[in-house]
């Protein structure tokens, strides 16, 4: 009997506490909340932790929701129940800015924090390979032009495309379509490689249709959707030296003893090559701040000051240790100025 009474009391207490704290919490928040790209996630979390250790503010909560999902949450409105910061592995789209404005988020500060490079990595056990985006496109596209016609990709081995390439089955392990890395890979590698293949233009005249042909990846086993768990891909590449994996730069940095990255159009994946734009498969990373929350949620100005400080994004900053490729000095200074002034984004 007693135990039953206790159970009901506990349930009532819980229901009450939910009602009370829920109401109270909707009105105020003393912890910064960031959402967005899984690529920017490791950098934002590192800054959040350093910021929290400063002791003045609570450590911000960072969620990894993907760029699109993050911006959707970010743009949903102003107020404590909406996040303060959105991480993005691409620039915010015009449609998203309009969506933001429609919900009252009119002032957004854009901070470009650095670059991420996408690597085509393979096992250290395999001999060195040089690729071009054009070869990559031919190896991975669903349909390629042969003798003036679009046909299902006939290339089974790398040597089918170019006799100089290894006589091995085409097998590329990469992220699934939900991933931001996949979007970037499609745009930087597939689309660019396709543009460098003149035959495509002759076969598909319509621009929209051509873009679709360019960005459709084969589904016959040449490209394996390996999920978001990059550590697993590292293991798979080790087991099969002929296979390639599509990674962010930070994974290559951490696994240099197991993996090497292919040269792309003759350019090595190194930090200077990415920052100067020579290495094609690279992308800028952004952080968006809701200006309306500065001064309302404690610590936002201090947090983005930390994010743009030299000790974070500098050439030897702690984010460089985490795999971020820093921006040139003058661009960093510009980002710092807009962080201090909360310069609103103009598209």
């Amino acid at each position: 009997m007693i135990s039953r009474k206790h159970v009901f009391t506990a349930a009532a207490a819980v229901a009450l506490s939910v009602a009370v704290t829920g109401g109270a919490n909707a009105q105020s928040r003393d912890q910064i909340r960031a959402v967005g790209s899984s690529t920017v996630f490791p950098f934002t979390t590192a800054v959040a932790e350093a910021f929290g250790k400063g002791g003045k503010f609570k450590t911000p909560v960072v969620e990894s929701t993907g760029t699109g999902g993050g911006l959707k949450l970010f743009c949903a409105g102003v107020g404590p129940s909406h996040p303060d910061i959105a991480n993005a592995s691409r620039r915010i789209k015009k449609s998203e800015v309009e969506q933001c404005a429609a919900n009252g988020v009119t002032q957004i500060t854009e901070l470009k924090i650095g670059f991420d490079g996408i690597a085509l990595a393979y096992s250290k056990k395999a001999p060195e390979v040089a690729l071009t985006t054009a070869i990559l496109w031919k190896a991975l596209a669903k349909e390629v032009p042969v003798d003036g016609k679009l046909v299902a990709n006939p290339y089974k081995k790398w040597s089918d495309i170019d006799p100089k390439l290894p006589n091995a089955e085409i097998e590329v392990l990469g992220p699934p379509p939900t991933s931001g890395t996949r979007d970037t890979f499609n745009e930087l590698a597939m689309l660019e490689g396709c543009k460098k293949t003149p035959e495509v233009k002759a076969v598909v005249a319509d621009e929209k249709a051509r873009e679709k042909v360019c960005m459709t990846i084969r589904e016959d086993g040449g490209y394996v959707e390996a999920g978001e768990n990059d550590n697993l891909i590292v293991q798979k590449l080790n087991a099969n030296p002929a296979a390639f994996g599509v990674f962010g730069y930070s994974y290559i940095e951490q696994n240099r003893d197991k993996l090497q990255s292919a040269k792309m159009d003759g350019v090595d994946l190194t930090a200077p090559n990415v920052a100067s734009g020579k290495y094609e498969l690279s992308r800028p990373l952004y952080v968006y701040v809701k200006n309306a929350h500065a001064g309302v949620i404690p610590g936002i100005r201090e947090f983005i000051a930390e994010f743009t400080s030299e000790r974070a994004v500098g050439d030897e900053g702690y984010l460089a240790d985490k795999g971020l490729i820093p921006e040139p000095k003058d661009a960093r200074d510009a980002a710092r100025t807009s962080a201090v002034n909360l310069t609103p984004l103009q598209l």
Partner: protein, 421 residues
């Protein structure tokens, strides 16, 4: 008198053949069963061996001995990094150039100055004295000492260069670098630095979430089951409810997350990432499981018990609360614990309500931001730093430990209180 030699049919050749075939069929069936069990156990052994062999090293962590002087002025400035540096440089008087000293700094965890700060906070009387302290080594040193990073090969491709390896070797030889039990793993919240990362934040988050789940789903689940089984009339409506409950038990858990997002966050305005919301969602998810198992347990109580109670004048409510429910309790508890174990291992619904997040601070209340154990495992598995690989496996071991504990409890309760008729 002649004896007929006709054999009775059970001595015939055909009969013997059929008998042999029947024995053989039974033997083959047994062999197939044993083979199935052997394959299943083999898989389990492979899984456990792979987890344990990868993860056991995470329970140790390399520590560095440093003799530090807690200078009053520096303590007041909170410049613990400088205090630590001076002590470290004193161990390597031959290294004076800037790059070498930077290399020495990289041997220690970036959280080491905060360890000194914690020491001073605990005992302010150490200010002004010289003490020998042990601080955490950097995760790369830790991985190197554990043998995960190669010692040979081209220097540019190694995680540790020659100078660092020399320093690590010198410290190991002088006893200034040892591996000791990794208490951080059990006491700290999450961190981006593997050597400072712990699961305590996630464990507390899991406990808070389960508390809410239990407080809601157990009383509601049992009450619903008792009413449906003992009191409800048998008609179209109760049939409809039953079908719906069975259906809900099979709904993918992500759906409950979406529901939580729309109702608890959207409509009621509860905070994101809070254990209270996680608990509410999990309660919805486990409710059908508890109702179904409780009904099965109530059904298994023989009708004679009810009839006897009613026969000596007990009211229907007294019959249920005094006799049927206590007898069904072991079965109900088993179902409840299994439901809770499922809730403990669930991540998908939490994704939608923001509990899949990087959270450093250990939660102190039901509305603080928190994450749970399986989410912590997922996030560590996704971290590029190599030291997180072993920590992922260690966290899996801890989660498995909790699950074994809960399921063990379920078995124990059943064995202890079970009644057979």
């Amino acid at each position: 008198m002649s004896v007929t030699t006709a054999k009775s049919h059970y001595q015939s050749e055909a009969f013997a053949r059929r008998l042999r075939a029947r024995y053989a069929a039974e033997r083959n069936f047994k062999i197939a069963g044993i083979a199935a069990i052997a394959i299943a156990s083999l898989m389990l052994v492979v899984l456990l061996t792979s987890i344990v062999s990868k993860g056991y090293t995470a329970f140790w962590q390399a520590q560095v001995r440093v003799e530090v002087t807690f200078d009053k002025a520096q303590v007041e400035e909170r410049n613990y990094a400088a205090i630590l540096r001076q002590g470290l440089y004193a161990q390597f008087p031959q290294i004076t150039e800037r790059s070498g000293r930077r290399m020495l700094n990289e041997l220690l965890s970036s959280g080491a100055p905060y360890e000194l700060e914690a020491l001073v906070a605990r005992d302010p009387s150490i200010v002004g004295t010289t003490r020998t302290v042990w601080v955490r080594a950097d995760d790369e040193v830790d991985q190197f000492v554990k043998g995960y990073f190669p010692r040979t090969g081209p220097e540019a491709e190694r995680r540790l260069n020659d100078a660092k390896i020399a320093a690590v070797d010198a410290m190991t030889a002088s006893g200034a670098l040892v591996q000791s039990f990794n208490t951080t793993l059990f006491s700290a919240g999450d961190s981006r630095e593997a050597e400072q990362a712990g699961i305590w934040g996630a464990v507390v988050g899991s406990l808070l979430t389960l508390l809410i789940t239990m407080a809601l789903s157990v009383p509601i689940g049992i009450a619903a089951a008792v009413y449906l089984e003992e009191f409800a009339p048998k008609n179209k409506w109760t049939d409809l409810i039953e079908v719906n409950i069975n259906n809900l038990a099979a709904v993918p858990s992500i759906i409950f997350g979406l529901l939580g997002l729309a109702v608890f966050l959207g409509f009621f305005g509860l905070p994101r990432s809070a254990p209270v919301v996680g608990g509410l969602v999990m309660a919805l998810m486990t409710l059908p499981v508890i109702i179904i198992s409780a009904r099965v347990a109530l059904k298994s109580v023989p009708p004679s018990i009810r009839e006897a109670a009613l026969g000596i004048g007990a009211s229907p409510l007294q019959t249920v609360t005094h006799h049927v429910l206590p007898l069904a309790m072991p079965g109900i508890l088993t179902g409840t614990i299994i439901g809770m174990a499922r809730a403990l291992g669930e991540t998908a619904p939490l994704l939608m309500i923001g509990m899949v997040a990087f959270i450093v601070d250990v939660p102190h209340g039901l509305t603080d931001s928190a994450t749970v154990l399986p989410v912590q495992i997922y996030m560590w598995a996704d971290s590029p730093e190599r030291a997180f690989t072993e920590r992922t496996s260690a966290a899996i071991m801890i989660l498995l430990g909790f699950l074994i504990l809960m399921n063990g409890l379920a078995v124990f309760l059943r064995k202890k209180f079970e009644r057979r008729w």
